[in-house]
């Protein structure tokens, strides 16, 4: 009878196990330090025991031994995917002995799950797409990312990069990431709708609010926002904070050197709420995702979209109905704010990094530099992003809307990254929650600023221990 009961327990348990399977996907490697050590051990012992093999390998490397590299990226879509494939082909032609296997994963899935799980054991691709700032810090601390300083010196890479693009790939003075692109935030306006409703393209926040009210009164949704995705709200609030608190202070505060609980940050949240109360955002925005929401802008139904420079590619795409109608302007200025019209949301955060466990760091580095440079150029042409490398591109080939953004930032005097790429772990979730609270009306601007500071302290406190 007891046995039967035990069997019952086991069977009942098996029904709920799929959960546990999810809960332990990080597998056996307890601490992140291990993979690096394992590798050291491996390289120590192997040459000693099998020195002949090693010699052979070395010889054949020169004479064209097969080298296999895996490349993890986030562009399963046709447009960017084709660019990746093109370069992989080019590289393989130039290096006949190298075979690159590229693995594409959808961005959110990659950022939240795949890379985290793999990096826990240092099992990510030899060359992998990653985000600098707070995101990669855990990986760098755990020792699963290769420091690139020696290789960069050897190849003279720094001279080919634009100034300031390595900032967020540098940790404790060492460089770990090669920047893929830069972005800058802008308010994209559909001029046709502005003319139709006789509205002035806003330069100050008051004008923006006025425009919102006019459009709303005419039954037009004034601005894009998919508040189900916290980062989409963050784009607007973060940009407003650059206006109210200024770029210099914001960068310090986000790094944890200053407090996030300031009047300026409260103000940025207040302004967001003012827009929300004036009806700036789509009905039911809390239930809409970013992509669903931006579709209406691309269809020419919504006049304003505050977003990153990547919005340009959609503006110039032949599939959309707003080609040639879009004017990109800076986030309107806020009276009494510390940040002027020349400070922007943006920076270089998308990086290529190299796995510390790679068997072929030189080839991996060569490929990583090559693809970042190539993609920087190509992504610039199609209007996805601004280049991080000194590229030589015929300007007529560049997306016209992106050219406008580029004009805007010519005199840029400061950039601040999106907060969710700057912050770490639990502070990111807190950021999204507080932003959604602002839109839903359950969080006050004061609670927002205080909550952000509390989350920042908690994360910094626990990682400092």
């Amino acid at each position: 009878m007891k046995l039967k009961k035990l069997l019952g327990i086991i069977l009942a348990g098996s029904m709920v196990m799929s959960l546990a399977g999810c809960g332990s996907s990080g597998n056996d490697t307890g601490s992140g330090g291990e993979p690096a050590q394992e590798r050291e051990n491996a390289t120590e012992t192997e040459p000693a025991q099998e020195s002949e093999d090693a010699q052979e390998a070395e010889q054949s490397a020169d004479s064209g031994e097969e080298i296999n590299l895996t490349f993890w990226h986030i562009w399963p879509d046709a447009e960017m995917g084709a660019i990746v494939d093109n370069y992989v082909e080019l590289f393989e032609e130039e290096h006949p002995n190298v075979h690159i296997e590229s693995v594409a994963t959808q961005e959110v899935e990659y950022q939240n799950n795949k890379l985290k799980v793999a990096a826990a054991t240092g099992a990510q691709g030899d060359v992998f797409m990653c985000w600098g700032g707070g995101y990669a810090k855990a990986y760098v601390d755990a020792g699963v990312v290769l420091a690139l300083d020696d290789l960069m010196e050897k190849y003279g890479t720094k001279d080919e990069l634009l100034d300031g693009t390595l900032t967020y790939g540098t940790y404790d003075g060492k460089t770990y990431g090669l920047p893929l692109k830069q972005w800058a935030g802008a308010l994209f306006c559909n001029t046709e709708l502005f003319e139709e409703h006789n509205v002035k393209i806003p330069e100050t926040f008051d004008e923006l609010l006025e425009a919102v009210k006019t459009f709303r009164a005419a039954g037009v949704t004034p601005m894009v926002l998919g508040a189900k995705d916290g980062w989409h709200i963050g784009m607007i609030q973060n940009a407003l904070a650059v206006r109210t608190e200024g770029a210099e202070y914001m960068n310090k505060a986000l790094m944890g050197e200053e407090t996030l609980d300031t009047e300026g940050i409260v103000k940025s949240a207040e302004l967001l709420c003012e827009l929300n109360e004036a009806g700036a955002f789509p009905d039911g925005t809390m239930g809409l995702g970013s992509e669903e929401s931006q579709e209406e802008f691309y269809m020419g139904l919504v006049p304003m979209y505050y977003g990153g420079s990547w919005v340009s590619s959609g503006c110039d795409s032949e599939e959309n109905e707003i080609q040639g109608l879009v004017k990109a302007v800076p986030m309107p200025t806020v009276e009494g704010g510390k940040g002027g019209v020349n400070s922007f949301s943006g920076g270089a955060i998308d990086m290529m990094m190299i796995n510390v466990n790679t068997a072929h760091p030189e080839e991996a580095y060569e490929f990583a530099v090559g693809i970042t440079k190539y993609m920087s150029e190509e992504a610039y042409k199609i209007g996805d992003s601004l280049p991080a490398w000194k590229v030589d591109v015929d300007e007529s080939e560049v997306s016209p809307t992106l050219r406008q953004v580029e004009e805007l930032i010519k005199n840029a005097d400061g950039y601040v990254l999106a907060w969710d790429t700057f912050l770490e772990g639990a502070a990111i979730e807190a950021h999204y929650e507080l932003l959604q609270g602002l839109i839903a009306g359950t969080t006050s601007p004061e609670e927002f600023a205080a909550g952000m500071q509390a989350a920042q302290e908690e994360v910094k406190g626990s990682s400092a221990e």
């Binding site: 327990i9 399977g21 990080g26 508040a227 039911g284 809390m286 979730e429």
Partner: protein, 296 residues
């Protein structure tokens, strides 16, 4: 052959021998991860860097987290909706079909279609139905002259949870229907004919003859429905991602966010362990209740 089988079954060693491979396999892929998770739940760990042992702190944090209780409460509501709405509907459909209607096969397959479709696709279909400005639901209400009933279904804290429950409950009606249907069909026709000879109408036959005879299947379905609800994830993840402002949060989703957004691996493992225990508890409770019913 028959005697050989009987002898083999009496031989406990033989039983152990044949069960062993499956048992080892089960332990490796199912039980072991549970114990590992239990171990992780005692750590302060982000999944990547050094872990630190913190004893039961994660559990203390969990039981002090109002969000956690909200998520549990939501999943219990869903379990109740499954048992008291989904299963009765499935039962009625199954009995009607099993009683013989024209096009029985067609209906049986039609009701089963949502079970085959991936949850992700169902969620996307319903997102379109609920869309505030061009969704089928709001447009339908307007066409019917009931614009005052229009809502921002997934964007409103008051309606989001119910809006998520509807497709979740709907999705598995066909599944339970099929189980009830096959159980009802397996009842020997003589019994039903005997009831009819005694003058029972269709309703009485169903209520007094068929349902009592398929109680074991009902028990299984109740357990499936409850456990499925307690660990529901996919539809809510896509429809609302737990929002707005946690109105539709459920435990698995909370666990997911804690692991993959906040990097709180230890805390998330504590939630996972709780969900497992909760599911076991409900399973035993249902077993007990049904044992009593079956005895009566």
């Amino acid at each position: 052959m028959g005697i050989g089988m009987e002898r083999a079954l009496k031989d406990k060693k033989a039983i152990c021998f044949f069960v062993l491979p499956a048992f080892i396999w089960f332990c490796l892929i199912a039980l072991l991860p549970v114990f590992q998770s239990a171990g992780y739940s005692l750590l302060d760990w982000d999944g990547i860097r050094e872990a630190k042992f913190i004893g039961l702190d994660n559990y203390i944090k969990m039981f002090g987290d109002p969000l956690f209780f909200k998520a549990i409460w939501n999943s219990v509501l869903l379990a109740a909706a499954s048992v008291f709405i989904q299963l009765p509907v499935s039962m009625v459909l199954a009995l009607v079909l099993a009683g013989g209607v024209r096009g029985e096969n067609f209906y049986r397959n039609a009701f089963f279609v949502p079970v085959i479709i991936s949850g992700t696709i169902i969620a996307h279909l319903w997102m379109k139905i609920y869309h505030p400005s061009y969704g089928l639901l709001n447009m339908g209400l307007e066409a019917l002259g009931l614009p005052f009933l229009e809502r921002e279904w997934l964007g409103d804290e008051k309606t989001a949870l119910v809006a998520c429950f509807v497709p979740m409950v709907w999705q598995y009606i066909g599944y339970h229907m099929l189980l009830f249907y096959s159980a009802a069909k397996s009842i020997s026709p003589e019994i039903i004919e005997a009831a009819q000879v005694d003058g029972a109408n269709r309703f009485q036959t169903a209520w007094r003859v068929i349902i009592p005879m398929i109680v074991p299947m009902i028990k299984a379905c109740v357990i499936f429905a409850i456990i499925g609800s307690l660990k529901s994830f996919d539809l809510i993840y896509i429809l609302t991602n737990g929002g707005p402002v946690h109105a539709s949060e459920v435990p698995s989703l909370l666990m997911y966010k804690k692991i993959f957004i906040s990097n709180e691996y230890g805390y998330a493992s504590a939630i996972a362990i709780f969900i497992i225990l909760e599911c076991l508890l409900f399973t035993f409770a249902v077993q007990k209740i049904f044992n009593r019913i079956q005895k009566d």
